[in-house]
Symmetry: C2
């Protein structure tokens, strides 16, 4: 029995383009791998040797300047695809932010398989086009928004992305969302192009203004989503 049959992202990942026979063939060239938080699976600048589907967890894509400044250029969630198919070197590292589970393929094997399965390539194309749209939208934030707008945009995005998974709703307060962020303060800074101190100050400001609450380091309660949207610019 194919292990894919049990896969929780089976119907959302690019694998959904395949029929059972094809899926079995894909299973044959892939294997699952467990990652612990902080562990990297792809390093910036090395030539592309593997690609993968995210089954569980959250991972960051990041680049660094020579002198160590970091920019997180993407965040991937279950069912997302990582790695650079079709040659070239990987322009960014991939590191687990939480414990994670991925379904790994050798890039060469995957490339060959994909070229024989246009439906798979089509899914990958749609996914890549969507990722490009999302990335370009983020450029507006990085290039033109203030620290306050960046933080608000970040929290709005998180509210949308974590809906379902790391997001609780208290019985008696239906308008409040309690998010469990997969990011440290430093990582939020690296997403937004800010420093950790600025991020921290923005958090306390939003808390003092009653827009959010901060029950613990990694948790944020969204008290006034509309204000966040307005402040996101």
């Amino acid at each position: 029995m194919s292990s894919c049959d049990l896969c929780v992202v089976r119907n959302r990942a690019i694998c959904s383009a395949l029929d059972p026979m094809e899926l079995a063939a894909l299973t044959a060239i892939g294997r699952t791998r467990q990652l612990t938080a902080g562990e990297s699976i792809i390093w910036e600048g090395e030539d592309s040797v593997l690609v993968a589907n995210v089954i569980d967890g959250v991972l960051k894509l990041s680049t660094n300047t020579e002198d160590g400044r970091e920019q997180i250029v993407g965040v991937v969630y279950p069912s997302d695809f990582i790695g650079r198919p079709f040659g070239g070197t990987t322009g960014h590292g991939v590191t687990a932010l939480t414990d994670a589970k991925v379904c790994v393929f050798s890039r060469r094997d995957f490339d060959a398989f994909a070229r024989e399965h246009p439906a798979l390539e089509h899914k990958l194309l749609e996914r890549t086009l969507g990722e490009l749209d999302r990335t370009r939208r983020w450029m507006l934030l990085l290039g033109r928004k203030s620290a306050a707008e960046k933080m608000a945009s970040f929290l709005v995005e998180m509210t949308e992305r974590l809906s379902g998974s790391s997001c609780r709703v208290e019985r008696d307060k239906p308008n409040q969302r309690i998010l469990t962020l997969p990011f440290s303060r430093q990582q939020i800074a690296d997403v937004l192009g800010l420093t950790i101190e600025t991020v921290s100050r923005q958090f306390t400001r939003l808390k003092n203004e009653g827009v959010i609450d901060l029950p613990s380091r990694r948790e944020v309660t969204i008290l006034d989503f509309d204000t966040l949207v307005a402040e996101a610019g």
Copy 2:
């Protein structure tokens, strides 16, 4: 006779995936269109009605905040593909920076054609993956680089992108490149996430330091490329 036979980007654009018969079929659903500098062909937020190949000229992809700040999120050159295939709305406007010529398709027609021609979709996928890599590299610049680093990076990128076309070399000074920029100062600012004043000051600083010369508004002579690379961070 198919007009594509005469197309100057025939062997570089995604069309190169097609054999003569297929190309004739593609020709049947496309038409060329001339754009004058400043003219837009796609607007941010509208639903995607057309896609195109760039035949000649340079165009910008840009997004704006509600209050009018602009960020250029991409620049496209001859043989590049523009527009958003496979549904969705376009996240950014597309505007000609120079007079330009494009080969336009209705998005619906193109989608249908692409789905029947996996080789075309493959080319488009490779192109989209490359564009995503490039875009992510630009995020490091927007999020983490200083004004000086941004300007140097910009000039390095321009030197590479304009090699051949808008780039002259004087007979007696083989190390110098004279670039004709397709951007105004404001547009450079919109690419780099800076203000026009900061861009102008960086230009004069580089000129005073002997790294570049500025023979006219739209021209830059690269006198010391290595220093630019070093300063790009």
